[in-house]
Symmetry: C2
Subunit: 129 residues, 2 copies
DNA sequence: CCCATTCATGCGCATATACGCATATGATGT
DNA sequence: ACATCATATGCGTATATGCGCATGAATGGG
């Protein structure tokens, strides 16, 4: 929101033309917002563990709760968030709700996360000036 | 943390054996925590836009600030977070700091994000029971 | 040396998030 | 109908996060 201050840094001129062709996410704040929300949905250890569990089997809330050692309330609330972003689906059977990953692409993607083990992924190296 | 309540839901028995072979992230809370932190780093629209800009060119803080219309302070703080998770690197030239994406895998991965346009990604379908 | 420029950082505040408690909803059994 | 179980949700609170303000640190020009 802040207006560009009147500094003299003109480095941008170097890449002026390139920057003229801005990518969608750079120009479209709304797009960036939506995208960021989805990363945020994955930005919680408990939710990642829920997804990890669901990548193995379809499970009811009660199972997830017991498996991960978190309260039913917390489990339910996390599942709501994962539902909101279309990451899980569920099926009601009697009074139970069986959750599963929403689609196979999410499943394989999570599988990579599991086995990747800190190498060859999407940005692992630590700072190095 | 909450102890498993003494309900009677025994659905877990169904998948008992499968669940015995838990994936790392499910069992290893620490691992899940680390992984979640990195998603969180991407879970902010401004940081995504910074990465989008850096996927086009190496830029100094001043440029980023002006380009995205955010304060120098905010820019610097976001860059610190991205540095912490090894997503960007920088090079000092005089009083300026030129930032770039840390590695090519992050770059191509971001490129996919840009063009994917809500289809074929990692979990797009909205809730459907 | 003095001062402007560029970037980084400590602090404070407004807002967001995670989770527990209590409770609502809906299904199942007696 | 009533009690019980599985799940969902409103609310309060502790903590985390984003960002502005003020300032520090480093560089370079006069």
């Amino acid at each position: 929101m802040t207006e560009r201050e009147e500094g003299t840094c003109e480095a941008r001129v170097v890449h002026g033309t390139k920057l003229a062709a801005l990518q969608p996410m750079l120009a479209d704040e709304e797009r960036a917002h939506v995208e960021a929300e989805r990363f945020r949905a994955l930005g919680d250890p408990t939710r990642l563990r829920i997804l990890a569990a669901l990548s193995l089997a379809e499970l009811c809330v009660c199972d997830l709760s017991g498996l991960l050692g978190i309260s039913q309330t917390a489990t339910s609330q996390h599942l709501k968030i994962l539902r909101t972003f279309g990451m899980v689906r569920y099926r009601k059977e009697g009074r139970m709700a069986f959750y599963r990953l929403a689609d196979s692409s999410l499943r394989t993607w999570l599988a990579r996360l599991h086995t990747e083990d800190r190498e060859g992924g999407v940005a692992h190296e630590r700072e190095s000036v």
